[in-house]
C-alpha cells in the first residue's frame, strides 16, 4: 500500500480514518475545529440535552464574526438576537474550556482569516467548521471543509464526524497570469468553466505553476471558493511559501516540534503517477479579470465580454431568465460601464492584507466616485493593524474612503451592512445568490482590483486601464 503512488488528499484522509463502516461513511478524526456564534448554539444545546461533554476542548477555537457590527465594536451590540448569539458563544466556550476570541479581542476576526494568521491551521491537518468556506484552510495542504450543526455537535462530543470519502479531482493551471489578473480571477474563471455544481462529490487539488507561484493569501482565496463549484473542499500541496508563512506564528510549532513537523509536511504532496477520478487543465494566459453577471458564482465572464445568451449556457432557460431578471440584466449586455452603487471589499475570500494592498494600488491618487458607497472591511484585527502600519489607511482616507472594523459584514449581511433592494454591488466576497447581501441586493463578484476600479469610476471598469 505504502509503495503505490498516492495523492496528497489520500495521504491526509487515510491517516485520519478511525474506523471504516461497511457500506457507510468513514469515522473521520478532526484535528482542528472552529466555531462561531451562528452555527454553534444549537449544537451546544444538543450536548446539554444528551448530557454530553466536549471531548477535546483544546482542539476547538471560537471566534465571533458572522453577525458582529463593523462600526463601534466597543459599544454593546444593538440587535438583541445577535447579542444573544454572541453571549451564547462566550458562555458556552467558558463553560467547556474552549478558547474564545470574542468582539474586542485583538485576535478577533473572520474565522478563516484568524485560523491561518495565528498558526492554528497547519499542513496535513483535518479542519472543520460550521461554515462552508472552511475550504480556505486547504491552502496549507489541510483537508478542510464546512459541516452542519449536527456535525458540530459530533465534533464537540467525539472529535469525529461520519464522512464518505469524496472522489478526487485535480485542476492544473500552468503558464503566467496576465497583468491585472489575481487569484480571485483564477478561481472565478475555473468556476465559470465547471459551473456551480461541476465539482459536487469531489475534493479538489489545485496544481501547476500558477498556484506554485502564488502567495498564501492568494492560495487561500482560491481554496476558499472551492465550495462554489460544489466541491467539498480544495487543497494545495505545502511548499517553502507555506512553511515561511507559518514559521513564527503564535500557535505554530517551535524548536524541535517545528523540525519534526516540517519533516512530515515535506512528504505531503501527490506522488508521481498517482491517479485522480477526473482532471482539468487550463492555461493562465486565457484568464482575464472576471466578474459575475448572475445569481450563482458559476455565472462569471471576463470583464470585457458580453453576457452569454441562454442557449450557450448549460442551465435551463427559465432558471437563467429568472437570474438575469433578478439582476436587471439582459442577454448580450456588455458588463463594462454597468452602474455600481456599492463596493464591498472584505470577507474570508478577499479580506487579507494583500487584498487591501491591491485595492490601494488603484485607489492611490484617485478619488471615490460620488455615486458609490464603499464598505472596506478587514478580515481581522491583525489585518486592520497591518493596513494602518503600511500606510494603506492614509491612501484610503485621502481618496475619501473609510475603514470599518473586522467581521463578515456584507458577505452575508447578517449585521447592519446590507445592500438595499435593487442596488448594484461589486463585491470581493464569494456568493452572488439572490438576497445574499440584503433582500433584493444585486451582487457582482470580482477581485479587489475590479472593486477598486468600480469604486473610483462608479461603473464596472477594466482595472487594467488604471494600473
Amino acid at each position: 500500500m505504502s509503495n503505490s503512488p498516492s495523492t496528497l488528499f489520500d495521504k491526509v484522509w487515510d491517516s485520519h480514518v478511525v474506523r471504516k463502516i461497511q457500506d457507510g461513511p468513514d469515522v473521520f478524526f478532526i484535528d482542528r475545529h472552529f466555531i462561531h456564534e451562528v452555527t454553534s448554539p444549537v449544537a451546544f444545546l444538543g450536548l446539554e440535552t444528551r448530557g454530553l461533554k466536549v471531548m477535546f476542548p483544546e482542539k476547538t477555537f471560537a471566534t465571533a464574526d458572522h453577525n458582529t457590527p463593523t462600526i463601534n465594536q466597543h459599544l454593546p451590540v444593538e440587535d438583541p438576537l445577535s447579542a444573544k448569539q454572541l453571549k451564547a458563544l462566550e458562555t458556552n466556550s467558558a463553560k467547556y474550556g474552549i478558547s474564545h476570541w470574542g468582539l474586542g479581542n485583538p485576535k478577533n476576526g473572520i474565522v478563516h482569516v484568524v485560523g491561518p494568521e495565528n498558526g492554528i491551521t497547519l499542513p496535513g491537518m483535518t479542519i472543520v467548521c460550521g461554515d462552508s468556506h472552511t475550504s480556505t484552510h486547504g491552502a496549507f495542504g489541510a483537508i478542510a471543509f464546512g459541516i452542519g450543526t449536527s456535525e458540530v455537535e459530533m465534533v464537540l462530543s467525539s472529535q469525529c464526524i461520519m464522512q464518505p470519502k469524496p472522489k478526487k479531482m485535480r485542476i492544473n493551471v500552468n503558464g503566467t497570469l496576465n497583468k491585472g489578473v489575481t487569484p480571485k480571477d483564477v478561481i472565478l474563471y475555473i468556476i465559470s468553466k465547471l459551473s456551480a455544481a461541476g465539482a459536487t462529490g469531489y475534493f479538489v487539488e489545485y496544481a501547476g505553476e500558477v498556484f506554485e507561484n502564488m502567495s498564501m493569501e492568494g492560495r487561500m482565496t482560491v481554496c476558499n471558493m472551492s465550495i462554489e463549484m460544489g466541491a467539498r473542499g480544495g487543497m494545495i500541496a505545502p511548499d517553502e511559501t507555506t512553511f515561511n508563512y507559518i514559521k513564527g506564528r503564535e500557535k505554530a510549532p517551535k524548536g524541535e516540534a517545528w523540525e519534526r513537523d516540517l519533516a512530515y509536511w515535506k512528504t505531503l504532496k501527490t506522488d508521481e503517477g498517482a491517479s485522480f477520478d477526473i482532471e482539468y487543465s487550463y492555461d493562465a494566459s486565457d484568464i482575464e479579470p472576471m466578474i459575475t453577471f448572475g445569481t450563482n458564482p458559476g455565472m462569471g465572464i471576463g470583464i470585457s465580454q458580453h453576457i452569454p445568451v441562454s442557449a450557450e449556457t448549460g442551465s435551463g432557460k427559465s432558471s437563467y431568465e429568472k437570474s438575469l431578471n433578478y439582476m436587471g440584466f439582459h442577454e448580450d449586455d456588455a458588463m463594462l460601464g454597468k452602474k455600481v452603487d456599492y463596493v464591498f471589499i472584505g470577507s474570508c475570500t478577499n479580506g487579507r492584507i494583500e487584498d487591501f494592498r491591491a485595492f490601494a494600488s488603484i485607489i492611490k491618487g484617485r478619488k471615490k466616485a460620488d455615486n458609490v458607497t464603499a464598505w472596506i472591511v478587514p478580515g481581522s484585527h491583525i489585518v486592520e493593524q497591518q493596513i494602518k502600519e503600511e500606510g494603506i489607511l492614509d491612501i484610503l482616507t485621502e481618496a475619501g474612503f473609510q475603514l470599518r472594523q473586522p467581521g463578515c459584514s456584507a458577505c452575508l449581511a447578517m449585521n447592519d451592512d446590507k445592500i438595499p433592494a435593487g442596488k448594484y454591488a461589486v463585491s470581493t466576497s464569494n456568493r452572488n445568490f439572490e438576497g445574499r447581501q440584503g433582500p433584493g441586493a444585486r451582487t457582482m463578484l470580482a477581485s479587489p482590483l475590479v472593486a477598486a476600479a468600480a469604486a473610483v469610476t462608479g461603473v464596472v471598469t477594466d482595472p487594467r486601464e488604471l494600473l
Partner: protein
C-alpha cells in the same frame, strides 16, 4: 433519537421546478439568529414566499393551496451554497420529510440525512415525469419506500429506484443518529487521538 423513523411515506407533493435552489433562498441569513431549533418553518423560502410588507406572494408555490404534502420536488442542484443546517431544519419544521431532485449539493444532503429528511435523487427524466404527473393532477401521490429504495408515482405506477448507503438507511429506518454511533466508540477514538500528531 433525534427524529421520527422513516420507512414508507405516501403523500402528495409540492413542485418547485427551479434549478440551483441555494440555502440562502431556503432560509435567508437574517433568520439564522436563533439560539434554539424552533420556528424555522415560518421563514422557509422567506423572500420568495413573502413581499417585504410580509404579505404572501400569490404566485409562489407554497402559497398556492392546491399544492400540499410532505414531499418537496425540486430542480437540479438543490441545496447549494452555505452549509447552514437551518435550511434542513426549515424544510423539516415546515412539514416536509422528503426532497426529490435530480441532483443535490453535498452538504445539504448530509445535513438532511442527519436530521431525518430523506433526499431522493432521481434521473432528470424521472423528475420530469413527476412534474408532469403533478401538473396533470395536483393531488397525485408519490410513494417513497425506503426499505426498498424506490419512488413510485401512484397514479401511473411509474417507479424508479434511488441510492442511499446502508449505514444511513439503517439510521433513518430506526431513527438513530450519528452521535449515538460515535458515543458507542469513544474508547477507540481516544486511542486514535493519543497517537495523532496534532
Amino acid at each position: 433519537m433525534a427524529y421520527d423513523k422513516f420507512t414508507i411515506l405516501t403523500s402528495s407533493a409540492v413542485p418547485m421546478p427551479i434549478e440551483n435552489v441555494d440555502t440562502d433562498q431556503i432560509i435567508p441569513a437574517r433568520f439564522l439568529k436563533a439560539t434554539e431549533r424552533k420556528g424555522f418553518g415560518d421563514n422557509l423560502f422567506r423572500d420568495w414566499r413573502y413581499n417585504s410588507d410580509n404579505t404572501p406572494k400569490q404566485d409562489f408555490i407554497l402559497n398556492n393551496p392546491i399544492y400540499s404534502g410532505k414531499i418537496l420536488v425540486a430542480g437540479k442542484n438543490f441545496g447549494s451554497g452555505s452549509s447552514r443546517e437551518h435550511a434542513a431544519w426549515a424544510i423539516y419544521d415546515y412539514g416536509f420529510r422528503c426532497v426529490v431532485s435530480s441532483f443535490f449539493a453535498d452538504i445539504f444532503k448530509g445535513n438532511a440525512l442527519n436530521i431525518g429528511i430523506l433526499p431522493v435523487q432521481v434521473s432528470p427524466e424521472f423528475l420530469d415525469r413527476i412534474f408532469s404527473a403533478i401538473e396533470a393532477d395536483p393531488h397525485t401521490e408519490l410513494e417513497i419506500n425506503l426499505p426498498q429504495q424506490s419512488i413510485t408515482i401512484l397514479a401511473t405506477g411509474e417507479s424508479a429506484s434511488f441510492d442511499i448507503n446502508g449505514y444511513k438507511k439503517d439510521n433513518m429506518t430506526n431513527g438513530y443518529d450519528d452521535i449515538d454511533y460515535l458515543q458507542a466508540m469513544k474508547e477507540e477514538i481516544q486511542a486514535f487521538a493519543s497517537k495523532s500528531l496534532y
